[in-house]
């Protein structure tokens, strides 16, 4: 019995939902049936959002556990930093809960989870700048990658480099100064060869995803199950 419950039923759920959602998408039959299809389809994607929400809470608990163990085990080198992480996580969750509570006590105030004042302050002054900083640190990495990895080692790398230089020049006003035709060359590269180059990759990714969907459908893909009982 245990094998059925541990492995067979979860995989059965996957196969049924895959087939059902494909039917909801492609079939119509008549207005009322189509209405039922789209209602159930919306219900299923709402279910996914709800399960994702609980998974995020499990994730939050996981981070809390990880840093708690770091404080106990990793000694002074790591402990103070883990304390900072845990404190900030709890503070953010506390303000969110206050906002959630207020949104039900007096809804007119317009305060909800993300618009709770202290929560918004932490978001605007701690989360957003850090997020932007990590996003824009990429410019430094592009500069060092340009120096180190962008060498014309072989013909393919040389072609990649040549196209990159043309598009870079075309992207800025520099290009226009060197050769007026640079902008139209850049536009040509972007619309003709570039589009054609990405088409097989887009199609291939589509074939790969569908084949993986097939393997899930016939229980040939079990990595998401984890342990092989």
């Amino acid at each position: 019995m245990s094998l059925i419950v541990k492995r067979v039923i979860p995989q059965l759920i996957v196969s049924i939902i895959l087939i059902v959602m494909i039917v909801f998408y492609f079939f119509y039959v008549n207005k009322s049936v189509a209405g039922v299809f789209s209602a159930w389809d919306k219900a299923l994607s709402d279910w996914a959002i709800i399960i994702m929400a609980f998974a995020l809470m499990v994730g939050g608990a996981d981070i809390f556990r990880y840093h708690l163990i770091q404080i106990r085990k990793a000694g002074m080198k790591q402990a103070p930093f883990s304390i900072v992480t845990i404190l900030l996580e709890l503070v953010m969750i506390a303000f969110a809960l206050i906002g959630f509570y207020i949104s039900y006590i007096n809804p007119e105030s317009g305060i909800s989870i993300t618009t709770q004042p202290q929560f918004a302050w932490l978001y605007t002054n701690v989360y957003a700048p850090s997020d932007t900083a990590v996003y824009s640190i990429l410019l430094f990495y592009i500069a060092s990658a340009s120096y180190r990895a962008f060498t014309a080692k072989n013909p393919t790398a040389a072609l990649l480099l040549a196209v990159a230089v043309i598009v870079m020049l075309g992207n800025t006003s520099l290009g226009g100064l060197i050769w007026p035709g640079m902008l139209s060359l850049r536009d040509w590269i972007m619309t003709v060869p570039n589009t054609a180059a990405f088409r097989p990759i887009t199609m291939g990714a589509g074939f790969g995803a569908i084949t993986l969907g097939l393997r899930l459908l016939i229980w040939r893909e079990v990595s998401w199950l984890g342990r092989r009982e």
Binding site: Y25, F26, F27, Y28, V29, N30, A34, S45, A48, I49, I51, M52, A55, L56, V58, G59, D62, I63, R65, Y66, I69, S130, D131, V134, Y135, I137, L138, Y141, I142, S144, A145, R148, A149, F150, L160, I201, T202, M203, G204, A205, G206, F207, G208, A209, I210, T211, L212, G213, L214, R215, L216, L217, I218, R220, E221, S223, W224, L225, G226, R227
Partner: protein, 294 residues
Amino acid sequence: MRITKDIFILITIILSIILISIVAWVSKIQLYNPTRPLSSFIVLLFLLIAGYLSIHRVKMGGTFSVRDIAAFNAIEEGIARSVEMGRPIHMTIGYGSISSSMAPQYIAGLGILSHVARMAGKYGAKLITTLGVPEVIASVEELVREGYASAGKPELFDPVYNVRYLTDQQFAYASAVQATIVRENVGANIVVGPFYAESLIFMEAGNMVGAFQVAGTARETQIPFFVLVADYSFIGEEIFAAGAMASGDKESLAAIRGQDAGKLLSIALILLGILMLITGYSLTDLLNWVWKFG
């Protein structure tokens, strides 16, 4: 091809779809969704059937050869080398939700993770798996435990050291992963799954400590960074082929022929479409045909 039970079921499914469609067409029932071209449904059925038939052929003993994917073979080499240097291995499959349309890419990443975990067990390497997909924390923990157990070294598995969930927020995840790569001085850095802007962050962090890097994604915008900076890279759908190879199950690998069938179909349709242009017919309009009456 002997008609076995499953082929018989497959044929009855196909015949019943065709039969129901004919009956619906004759009696003017709006069977298919009027806003969705029928060609997409037919292409989907074709790919699923082609994939299933190739699996079936292998089940019946058929064999086929698979083009070598250098990046897949490089994984074992990278792990062995970093164990010699006494440095841990790092792998990550990305951030986000598995209930998004990136699910197939996360699962391909999980497939390769099970291979990496087995190699880690085989060479006795310390594996650090960082991830930002909350729904699969449990699956990743068990895959890594399974990897060590299958090599007879269950004692090497420590859930807190081996599996680190770092929030599903893109750049908090990226900042923690780049720090992990540098501070743990990883020897091999394996990055496979759907990646967004943070792809180059992981590649540069790996480069800072001179790690051996194998990376791949099917998200086109990030492929160039992996191709340029990583030692070996999977391009686009190669992550799905590698995921199937990693499962070590011949029949899953056979499904790749379904992908190739799709490519042959595309080549044929493009050629047919161009030929039809000469005669004035347009395959493009045919592909847009919608099941509608009046």
